[in-house]
């Protein structure tokens, strides 16, 4: 009876295993970092486009633009500190005199409002919030142009928009 020779199973040395594990770890770490970074980039871009700050700043710019462009250039009121501006416009296109007003005002604690009303006699019709999360808002004017410098901050994102418009009506 022949003596059975012990079988030699091929295997890895501990050094080979460690190298393999380290290489695998490096690859996995790299891939993981890429995935996480991509996710963060995606999230950041998503916020940049669709966050409240982004949409609010867009709405504020459009509102300011549409109201100021139809305003009368004859006269307007501007706060010395620039926290509000009041412009006048024709609600009735056949009116010989400006009959309505719109007043943008920043309350100093995060809200930009617009107040619409009638003149002669002065009567407030509606007050609407244009946007929240306002950290600063300054109105300026020069000639027939009015400007709004608005900064929005919701804690995670900040956006500053500068909107300028010319008052076109008489």
């Amino acid at each position: 009876m022949s003596k059975k020779e012990p079988t030699v199973q091929p295997g890895f040395t501990i050094v080979e295993l460690m190298i393999a594990v380290m290489l695998a770890a490096i690859v996995m770490f790299g891939v993981g970092a890429m995935v996480v970074d991509s996710q963060r980039g995606w999230q950041r871009m998503y916020n940049h486009i669709y966050s409240d700050v982004a949409t609010d700043s867009y709405v504020a710019r459009k509102t300011f633009d549409s109201v100021v462009r139809k305003a009368s250039s004859e006269t307007f009121l501007l706060d010395a500190a620039g926290s509000w501006i009041e412009v006048y416009y024709y609600e009735d296109p056949n009116s010989a005199f400006v009959d309505s007003y719109a007043r943008f005002s920043y309350d100093g604690i995060g809200q930009l409002d617009i107040e619409y009303g009638r003149l002669n006699p002065r009567q407030t019709l509606t007050v609407r919030t244009v946007c929240e999360n306002v950290s600063s808002c300054v109105f300026k004017a020069s000639g027939r142009s009015a400007q709004m410098i608005l900064t929005l901050d919701d804690g995670s994102q900040t956006a500053t928009i500068v909107s300028s418009s010319v008052m076109h009506n008489q």
């Binding site: 486009i49 004859e74 027939r144």
Partner: protein
Amino acid sequence: MNKLLQSKRRGSAIALVLLVIVILLATGVGLLSLGLHSRIFAIRNASDIVARCAVDAGLTKALFEMNEKLKVKPWDGSTLPQATDEMLPNCDAIYSYTITGDIGNGYIIESIGKSNQAERRVNSSLRLQGPFECALFVQGTMILKAGTLVDGYNSLDPGDTDVEVRIGTDSTLPNSIMLNFGVAVNGDVLVGVGGDVESVVQDQGATVDDKYAINVETVFPDITVPALPDKGTEISVHGTTLTMGPADNGEYDGIELKRAANPGVLEITGGDVVLHVTGDTSLGQDCEIIVREGASLTLYLDGDLVAGNQAGINNENSPVNFKLYGTGEGAQEFDLKAKGDFFGAVYAPNADIIINAGGDICGSFIGSNFEIKSGGNFKYDEALKNVSVDDEAVRFVIQHWSEE
């Protein structure tokens, strides 16, 4: 080793790699999609702003073209300016405009601005604006004597009680408007662009509706003297009465009225009289220019106007019937007097105007400096706002503006 490599046991590396690739692809596609949306959003915003600039440019160009057309007399409304797909310089935007309407019903400008997919459309109605929009307006200083009441009326519509009265200056220098004690302005007081009303208006106890700075510097249009036959002489009257009618329209070297036994009188009668005086106009003591009822006098004066004691220009009609235009290239001085009420409109942006009247002063005064030394109250005649294309210093301005 070879056996290990030749092992037919299934591995999981391919699946893992594919999983990672799918995850990275999904994230990448998401990022690209967001980036694309962001880019499209930014392009739309930018295009909208550029289209807005284009539509404004179209409107401005249309208004400019209309005013250029207005300079050619007589007015020809058969062809109106228009433009199609004009390029806005230094960008990819285009604008178009059309003008519709007629002089009787008014003109409307429709302007369209386009940039990429963005389009803006603006409609504006136009009106003619003459030089007499304000009761009193100066480039420099204005002094109203104590107790003057500045009010308005409409000689064409006595029932019109809602007359907009404005007096003002284009200056922002301190004390440019002096409202002495008791002055009452049933209207607004305007000061130059950016001026401090409290500094510019020296208020010594006046009452006014409102005081504010204008937003746009006032335009003082140039006066174009109509072509008139050169008479080669001056109008000289010594102690007699000279009657002039439309047949005497022309260019004269000067006007001199002198008193002899009787005062010299220049009587305007029989219709619309237009005189261009290249020199001075001098009215001696008690002498007067009388614009008879039904007649009118339009006087283009290159020189000065001086009037002695009790002399004056007496218009027996509404202010519309006596218009004095200062057409000198340099500074002028107008010393206006009237024995009773003064009715007239003066447009002389380079003239220092001083007025003494025996009664009220009715009309409108546009000058360099202005002072009421004596007289009653000042009444602005809103009928002076009614102008036609053939009047002096008229231009189209935007009346109503709307955006779709």
